[in-house]
Point group: C2
Chain length 697, copies 2
């Protein structure tokens, strides 16, 4: 399977199915790319005839793996070695499963998988890009392991690294990185998940003892859903309102021991278990309540703000909102990682479902004793192949994001504010799109495999259950899309206002609305797009240019900018008319979120296009090109009502797009198996009974 | 909460929130329906001022419960009494959970819940409508219990009743109905789920011993996913190819013992376990392999076909396809039941998510110390309230379906073929739409509750996992939608051809295409619709008539009939052009399925409208009317691209529909809590910690 010429593929199909018409579109395209005549005897009798070029799957897989191939392969090998974990969640009790996950996590830690992203002086390799790539690859395996590793190394150790200073690094970082000191990232509370600026937990400085008193003042201030809290965590990075000298300075992070080495809760700390969850039952999510727990002054992670022994608070960042969001920068890594994990989980599901559809037959095909393959049904192609194309698109967008993240966070620590805000928005958007995509894709794959897909042994069930929370953790997707739109509307300038809609609306109204809405700029944009975006007058030739890159980009950019300008206008008009900012915002909240999404979709499509253009010449690039066209056109098709409403598409052209999407599905179909092979998901994760039935029969 | 006047509701909101603008749309509508002036001091000071009418939730709930209120209430009481079962799946081992489900099933059987649908002579009440209504109501509780009861009473006992004759009834039916004889419905095989006409299991008559020999000739012919097979079933209704005198007569059903009373497999029977599943782990799905298992001649359920001692086969139904589909009529009840169960599971999820959204606050609202309620955010309304409206629509469509089912199957056994085909299509369509709706709704509810929604204690996780298979069991939804379209295209006439796409295409091509495609008829239809369906010339007043019933019906009917005619034309043209029938069908498979869906959506919307019109006058009807408008307009909105492409909607009017949908969400929002209360889901099923936190704190 590693290398197959189109002509031999065509010949093999002809041998297998005869010149059966069902497969003729596939044969036609196979022949077309190999410059063969349409199927005839000479192909069958001369299967080894040299093709115009070689279709190398190995090359495509390497291209997808990109610069972090080594990190990915190391995780792939580890996954294969720990394949047993994939069944652990099904057969073990919850407590046993959690312990098993911990055991494997500590084992892979010992093998050096997880330290990669940390500075060399603490045993790491200073390779942030490889760290994220490796983390993403964990999503090919047991997702509880991935999430637990994310909590321990990304969130807990990450908070120490990014928010602490040398004394914290020296004291804790190596133990945290090597998995000896297990910790929690105690941010979310029962009452506040999205609006973390309003957390209720307090950390009050007592100058008499030079201690902070950590306290949970109300039931709503209980720390909730905290990974590692129910069973394994010994310390927590606790986010709390810092109160010094009677004055509240906003949310800061402190290291608070919560358990003894024997696992007993420390005095004043009440720990409980969130119990069974829809998925991720190998992660011990729990709750923490603090009753006047005292920690030394040095427990404050004091990179961005300090409290001296006498109780004087100081910070180099004067604006409290800006300070808060700077500290929250630690969340970016989590969002980048979860987005990547979601995309990789989609690859697992598609690998399984497409292989199944390429061997499962149901209902009769004419002139053949066999029934037809599921993947030869148009509806089945329509359900799975656009999702395959979007997975490729998101893969490349994610790869771009990881490089930018590594550039900004992995370097000398000097970050440009504008770049960082842009990165945060991009991470938020990719996370939201990638995790919604995973939910949709895995669901579709499950349905496409019928009852077999419902059995745990075929893995889709677990994938679905484990990834479901991705859309709401590390930032609820709808809130993240608002963040994206806000960044665009304010052009990332001075956008340190609160995350809440009110702050956005006020900010837009007061300062920056002109940036996006400025009319002459918009007019110029529309002029610029007019040439590449045909409008209703395209009726004469509705198919013209549908596979033209400039057309796709033009359409996606037009939608993005038109929507953003519309939102800005509506917000400004509302405020000008004296509408309360919350209501002004709320009236167009759906519009705001759609605008954010339009932006991310455009960026993702352009990342895919750039990857196609940068690919080495040859068959793999041609296949990527087909997939890209499919993706771009499906994206436009899904919003075709909007395009028609806004005069950018005629009814005839809209129908032509749908017809071309169907056609492109048929073009991609013969390569679908190879396209999922190129994801390089280890066999342990995808060789399930319904795909490899001989294992069980 | 049982009775609240709009004026007191308005006053209470004003007391609670002041004259805060966030809530003003709700206040406005509350005031409007109670004929009050817009909020002012007099409302606040006179909260008990008599309203124009009383909003009675009790009345609405009774209206929803309809003629089978007693059956529903009996199940509600049973559910409350067995509330412990709701947690059983989380804490027990799979084996223990299965046994617990069996125990509760036998207990409710003893209480008379499950016999309701059977003839009185076997201990039943002959009340088929009440039986289905009660079964649907089981979906408020543990879904493993519901499915296991469905297998035992609907499928196994149903097969004996519908396919057997008096000797089978006398020997087995009472024991089956009373849960003493546990049985399987062994139809699906590993190799064949949708295409059951191609099952591989054989039942070969041996005249020498007057026995049938049941055999599994290939691994693909293994019975798979069979409920009750892994642990509890002692007998199976086995669907097999009947071979008599060397001739195969197609699929028939025979009763085959599989286990001893002690639970050991009988000789020649190999039983295995499907193991863990995504959900429904309280049901013991398993696999059955037969190795030359002999059963007496009388094991054949011989209502529609008989084999005499000498091995002469006879049937009153000569056409083998027609015979097969007549026997398959037993599946209709399963489809009706699953559709209803899915709709009820959606009610549970919406009750939880809407109550949560009506108490959960996040992010600041101006002029208030409190943060804003989630349900006051437009995006949250947009995500949940159209689903609430569709749940009502499906509820009423399902109620219509149940009555028609009871009429046809519960009567004297004389069925009109045309009516039965129409019922089968309607059951298929409602099942597909209802189960897709459940998957979408429960997913949305889970996401709308964030991390809390992911915890098993809040029930959405279990609901999601348990209902997920509904879209593919009892008929894969895509295959069912093809069945719907096929019935419409052939006008249910002589449509006894095979279920497969090929048969459909051939049939359409050969005989009946004129029925749907006849051009003059289509032209008449379009003329008829022109008056009520404004086209592009509506730009002058895009809002006109958007809440007009005739407009909604006209639009939905236009789409349905236009799509069906288009499919018929394409199929016919393909065949006329000499395209292989499979390929001709396959080229428009997406179109076929969309046409089926368009039909079901129109029927569902009309059922809702009929229910609104039939409701007693008063506030409840007004609220239903708002919900109906919301549902009808969201349905049109979701296909607005198609309507614009086909000249039935202008861009301006399309935007006006979206604006009105947003507005209707705001109109419905203040009643959302009462509208879910009216579903009457017992507290045990919905009083989860995130909604009633005091229980756990």
């Amino acid at each position: 399977m590693s290398s197959l010429t189109p002509s031999s593929a065509a010949a093999s199909l002809i041998r297998k199915f005869g010149t059966n018409r069902i497969l003729s579109p596939h044969l036609r395209s196979l022949c077309a790319i190999s410059a063969l005549p349409l199927p005839n005897v000479s192909v069958v009798t001369d299967p080894e005839r040299p093709a115009a070029y070689v279709w190398s799957m190995t090359g495509l897989r390497e291209y997808l793996d990109g610069p972090h191939k080594a990190a990915r392969d190391l995780v792939r090998d580890g996954l294969a070695a720990n394949a047993g974990l994939l069944d652990a969640g099904l057969e073990l009790s919850r407590a046993e499963y959690r312990d098993k996950v911990l055991e494997v996590m500590q084992q892979i830690t010992a093998e050096g998988h997880t330290a990669r992203g940390f500075p060399k002086e603490f045993g790491g390799q200073g390779d942030l890009g490889g760290f994220i790539a490796g983390f993403e690859t964990l999503a090919f395996g047991d997702l509880s392991l991935m999430v637990k590793a994310g909590v321990q190394f990304g969130l807990f150790a990450g908070a120490i690294l990014h928010l602490g200073t040398s004394r914290h690094h020296d004291e804790y970082l190596t133990d945290a990185i090597e998995g000896r000191l297990l910790g929690c990232f105690a941010m979310t509370e029962t009452g506040h998940g999205s609006n973390v600026q309003a957390l209720g937990t307090t950390a009050t400085y007592d100058p008499a003892t030079e201690e902070f008193v950590i306290h949970t003042p109300t039931p709503a201030a209980r720390k909730d859903y905290i990974g590692n809290a129910a069973r394994h965590g010994r310390m927590a990075a606790v986010f709390a309102q810092l109160v010094v000298g009677g004055e509240t300075h906003g949310v800061h992070c402190l290291l608070v021991p919560i358990r003894t080495k024997d696992g007993d809760p420390l005095p004043g700390v009440t720990l409980s278990d969130c119990g069974a969850k829809l998925g991720l039952n190998g992660v011990d999510n729990g709750r923490i309540v603090f009753d006047q727990v005292r920690v030394p002054r040095t427990a404050l992670l004091d990179r961005y703000a300090q409290v001296d022994a006498d109780g004087n608070y100081s910070s180099e960042i004067e604006n409290p909102d800006r300070r808060f969001f700077t500290m929250l920068g630690t969340l970016v890594q989590g969002r980048v990682s979860v987005g990547g994990a979601a995309i990789n989980a989609s690859k697992v599901a598609l690998t399984i479902a497409i292989r199944y559809a390429d061997r499962r037959r149901q209902f009769g095909a004419p002139g053949s004793a066999d029934e037809a393959l599921l993947l030869d049904y148009r509806m089945h192609q329509r359900r799975l192949l656009p999702l395959l194309a979007r997975t490729y698109a998101l893969h490349f967008a994610q790869a771009e994001l990881v490089e930018e993240f590594a550039r900004l966070f992995g370097g000398d620590g000097v970050k440009d504010d504008h770049d960082q805000r842009a990165l945060e928005a991009q991470a938020a958007g990719t996370k939201a799109l990638g995790t919604w995509h995973a939910t949709e894709t895995i669901q579709m794959c499950r349905e496409a495999c019928g009852g077999a897909g419902y059995l745990a042994e075929n893995r889709l069930a677990t994938l679905k259950a484990d990834t479901d929370v991705f859309t709401t953790f590390e930032g609820d997707n709808t809130v993240l899309m608002q963040l994206v739109a806000k960044g665009l509307l304010t052009n990332y300038r001075e956008s340190f206002g609160k995350l809440d809609p009110l702050g956005t609306a006020r900010f837009i109204a007061a300062q920056a609305v002109e940036i996006a809405v400025e009319k002459t700029a918009l007019r110029t944009l529309i002029e610029r797009l007019r040439d590449v975006v045909p409008n209703r007058n395209d009726a004469a030739d509705p198919d013209a240019g549908l596979r033209d890159d400039a057309y796709h980009s033009g359409m996606l950019r037009f939608r993005e900018e038109h929507m953003l300008a519309g939102v800005a206008r509506r917000l400004k008009r509302g405020i000008d008319d004296g509408v309360e900012p919350f209501e002004a915002f709320n009236r167009c909240q759906d519009h705001v979120i759609a605008a954010g999404r339009a932006h991310v979709e455009r960026v993702v499509a352009e990342a895919f296009l750039a990857a196609v253009q940068a690919a080495p010449e040859g068959a793999a690039r041609e296949r990527l090109r087909d997939l890209y066209d499919l993706h771009a056109l499906v994206t436009i098709e899904s919003e075709r009502a909007w395009y028609i409403e806004h005069g950018r598409l005629s009814g005839a052209r809209s129908k032509a797009i749908t017809a071309l999407v169907n056609e492109l599905c048929a073009v991609v179909r013969p390569y679908a198996g190879e396209l999922v092979d190129a994801f390089g998901v280890p066999g342990a994760a995808v060789d399930v009974p319904m795909v490899v039935p001989s294992q069980h029969e």
